[in-house]
Point group: C2
Chain length 158, copies 2
């Protein structure tokens, strides 16, 4: 069988945006996606890309996405990979594509000498949590991300 | 009064590592810091820096640190700043340096057109949580970071 995974190219941006929107709908935030083809193209394929993507393509259709960027840990003193979005379209699930995308990313992390591969999971997404635990991932339950954005960020910056 | 905040330079790396170690001890992980002067110098001041730092200097002593890097949100379609470490030495607390560091970072975020400023807090650190809430930050309590590292990452990558 042909390997369904490959590095995304600029020609995939429309498909990537479609999958990001499907993921947001699954996460009960269908109107949360403000990314556009132009902004994603700049982010992934501009002169100084700030993120990277793998896609899964089956029968000519892009059905899976892993979008990630590099982060850094002061404790390890090394870079890590942060998986921002992992998604497989409903009709393509159950064939191992999600695990294959995550495994490919783990391989990239090890290849680059990264200390960690990290990502975030919604607390109600028990199937995903069980799956991640089965892979050996640890839930960093004692930490909570805090966020300043929108008007609160602007106000505090003044 | 002279502004105690400034961009870190390569000459600050020894002080930055000292503050990172103090922070790890405060977070009850005194042996967790594997960063070295060399690794931090490469990360912050090498040819392709993957993180940046602000320091607070009072009476010739570096007493505060904000170490951060750029992340990316597919929903906003824009970059954000992630604050990896915020620390003020005990004898310099209570003078507003922590808030000043965070505010300077918020200003950098807004200046760069970032959508968000984010950081993580340990759940038992109630004084910090109260402080962040007072600034308008939201706790992203419904998300939990998952991590693959060490032997589990190597095993999964195979």
């Amino acid at each position: 069988m042909t390997d369904p995974l490959r590095r995304a190219t600029a020609a995939d941006v429309g498909d990537i945006l479609r999958l990001i929107r499907e993921l947001a709908a699954y996460e009960r935030e269908p109107d949360a996606v403000h990314a556009t083809v132009d902004s994603l193209t700049a982010t992934l394929f501009g002169p100084t890309p700030s993120a990277e993507a793998l896609v899964a393509e089956v029968d000519g259709e892009v059905v899976g996405l892993a979008l990630f960027f590099t982060n850094f840990s002061t404790w390890t003193g090394r870079a890590g990979l942060y998986l921002e979005d992992l998604y497989v379209a409903p009709h393509a699930r159950g064939t191992g594509l999600g695990k294959a995308l995550l495994q490919r990313l783990a391989r990239i992390a090890v290849g680059r000498g990264c200390a960690r591969l990290e990502w975030s999971v919604l607390d109600w997404n028990q199937p995903a949590i069980d799956f991640y635990r089965s892979l050996g991932a640890k839930a960093m339950s004692e930490w909570t991300v805090h966020r300043l954005d929108g008007a609160a960020l602007e106000r505090f910056a003044k």
